[in-house]
Amino acid sequence: MSTSHSTLVGGSYAKRLYGASSEILSRLERKSWAFILLLLVPLTYLVLVYGLPILILIARSLFSYNPVTGITGGFTLNNYWHFLRDPAYLNVLWSSLRIGLLVTILDLVIGYPVAYLLARISGTKKQILMACIVSPLLVSIVIRTFSWEVLLRGSGPVSHILMAIQIIREPLRVLNTETAVIIALVHVYLPFMILPLATVIESIDPTLELAAGSLGANNLRRFIEVVFPLSIPGVAAGCMLVLTTSVSAYVTPAMLSGGTFLVMPTLVAQQMQVLVDWSFGSAISVVLIVVVLTIVALFSWWAESASKYRSGRVAK
């Protein structure tokens, strides 16, 4: 059984879970009827709630559909041509990717030191830090985005502080720009970078850093030579989570762009709700799904190849 997903999602803990569940599965296989029945319940749910809508989506994108009359037309690839040939639409795709990449890089740079700290401390300090990192997730994303809207207003606190210390001379005008969306997304998705990273870093034996130190490596070289290379499965996991969610983020860009620019999800919303072109909207959604799946595949491959030493399997 491939363990690429288990190394991706949480290092050693997930691997143990995966191993345990595959043991349960192989035990159930012996009683095949019970096995099948047990699986049927969640499988049915997933098919109905998840699989079927995606199939309908794909179908809609390939057959022109009029929601008013309910009539489906003939097979056509026009919707995809329409999207891929128009630079305006490709620009929207590029916006999504650009925002996603910037958010991921920023989250990595900000999140790595926090993850390292979280991994290396213990006891009450660790619990407090963990609470600080996780507690924003308890608040709805709409509320968090709205808070940024309030903070980043020209008449808001950030503007006042920056003017007071003379970094800017006019009221802040970052709202309704890509920058505002990036700032908010960096904040919202930071826990998704920190937690997988911290899990992986925690599984890096601290005596490795001691050994490197005793051999003459200063703090920077210890990081570059030992800690970072061994944390790559966590980096891949965190980046994958942040990139896929920020590329497909809807609420935050919708609220903070002020309609001045589009990303893929808001474009889809526009097509579906405003222009009522469900076929075209479906095609754009499928393009987004393909992009996200590609990202997942790439990062899974990266994490898998980087963790081959740690699991002892080397292609030699």
């Binding site: 034996d205 030992v226 290379p229 080397v314």
Partner: protein
């Protein structure tokens, strides 16, 4: 090739004193073992020398130079850990080359040094393998190579063989010893296994609760333990509590519940008549005689509680009428010639010479 000195070193964690005023000198090129039970402070001492910890008091000196303020990567120490701590994402060669790279050595020279070192630990063909592909013994040899290739001032080994099985441990002990004598590097070895300490050391430093109890060659530590702790920790022993009756003529006479016990040759300076002491002897220095027969300066009656046959020797467990437990080792080859075997339940006399008796203050 460096001499190491701990001068008046103490280490406290809050109110807990891990080390108390330790004075230790390790000679140039010597193999010193820090021996003691878990939590006695031996690993703390090692880490102080490595620079991983700073002393609360006192000085750490390399060749007479105080190094308290130097971090580990400036002290030129070679560390070998119990779990090897090899870099899993680097090959064996890359692991060994790591220290040399940190020192900015030229690439061709590094390659040559690494090759020589791997040959020395008999892993010449394993250079391109990853640590996870090696066995425990091989991994430990890579760890040794990695620590030695940088020509450290001192080699520090923290219970490096704890994770290996018995046979492998014994062969690795000899390998390390030979390696150390070839390379002539000052080495400090930490262990709680007294047999290991006796096997490989030039000198043993016995540590208990943050204090050095004795530093001596293995033979002296075993035959002339300085304190009761050293006696009990290194090798098996039989001991009795008693009171000193008289001192004189190179003899101490001690009154124990089992009669008088006499200690021959030298008397430890601090003991005076009337002191409470512990007298002891090693099991292999005692022998059994049938009940009622006397044959030595010291004896104690009892019955054989159990006999354990161990191939070349037999361990006899004797219990005296007062409940004192004793152990006597008998060489099975001497049965028939000078001695005979004894059965469980037989009444015997445990005998030993005054010259083999040790006395310590209680």
């Amino acid at each position: 090739m460096t001499s190491i000195c701990l001068s008046g070193v103490s280490k406290s964690y809050g109110s807990f004193k891990a080390l108390r005023q330790v004075n230790l000198e390790v000679k140039n090129g010597e193999f010193l073992t820090l021996l003691g039970p878990s939590g006695c402070g031996k690993t703390t001492m090692l880490r102080l020398i490595a620079g991983l910890l700073e002393p609360t008091e006192g000085k750490v000196l390399f060749d007479g130079v105080v190094v308290n303020a130097l971090p580990p990567h400036k002290r030129n120490v070679g560390l070998v850990f119990q779990n090897y701590s090899l870099f899993p994402h680097m090959t064996v060669s890359q692991n060994v080359a790591f220290g040399l790279r940190m020192r900015g050595m030229d690439a061709t020279k590094i390659k040559a040094d690494v090759k020589d070192m791997l040959e020395m630990v008999q892993l010449g063909s394993a250079g391109d393998r990853y640590p996870s592909q090696l066995s425990g013994g091989q991994q430990q040899r890579v760890a040794l190579a990695r620590a030695l290739v940088i020509r450290p001032a001192v080699l520090l080994l923290d219970e490096p063989f704890g994770a290996l099985d018995k046979n492998l441990r014994e062969s690795m002990q000899l390998e390390v010893r030979q390696l150390q004598q070839t390379v002539k590097v000052t080495s400090i070895f930490v262990t709680h296994d007294q047999e290991e300490a006796l096997t490989i050391s030039d000198r043993i430093a016995v540590v208990n609760e943050g204090c050095l109890e004795q530093i001596d060659a293995p033979r002296s530590v075993y035959q002339s333990p300085a304190t009761g702790f050293v006696l009990r920790f290194v090798g098996a022993s039989n001991s009795f509590a008693g009171k000193v009756l008289s001192i004189g003529d190179g003899q101490i006479v001690v009154q124990t519940p089992y009669g008088r016990v006499v200690q021959g040759h030298s008397a430890p300076a601090e003991i005076a008549a009337g002191d409470s002491v512990v007298v002891a002897f090693r099991p292999e220095k005692g022998w059994l005689l049938p009940e009622g027969q006397a044959g030595a300066t010291n004896s104690c009656p009892g019955f054989v509680k159990g006999a354990i046959y161990l191939g070349s020797i037999t361990h006899y467990y004797i219990e005296s009428p007062e409940g004192q437990e004793m152990v006597v080792f008998q060489l099975n080859s001497s049965i028939g010639r000078a001695e005979r075997a004894y059965e469980t339940g037989e009444r015997v006399n445990v005998c030993w010479d005054a010259s083999n008796t040790l006395v310590f203050r209680n």
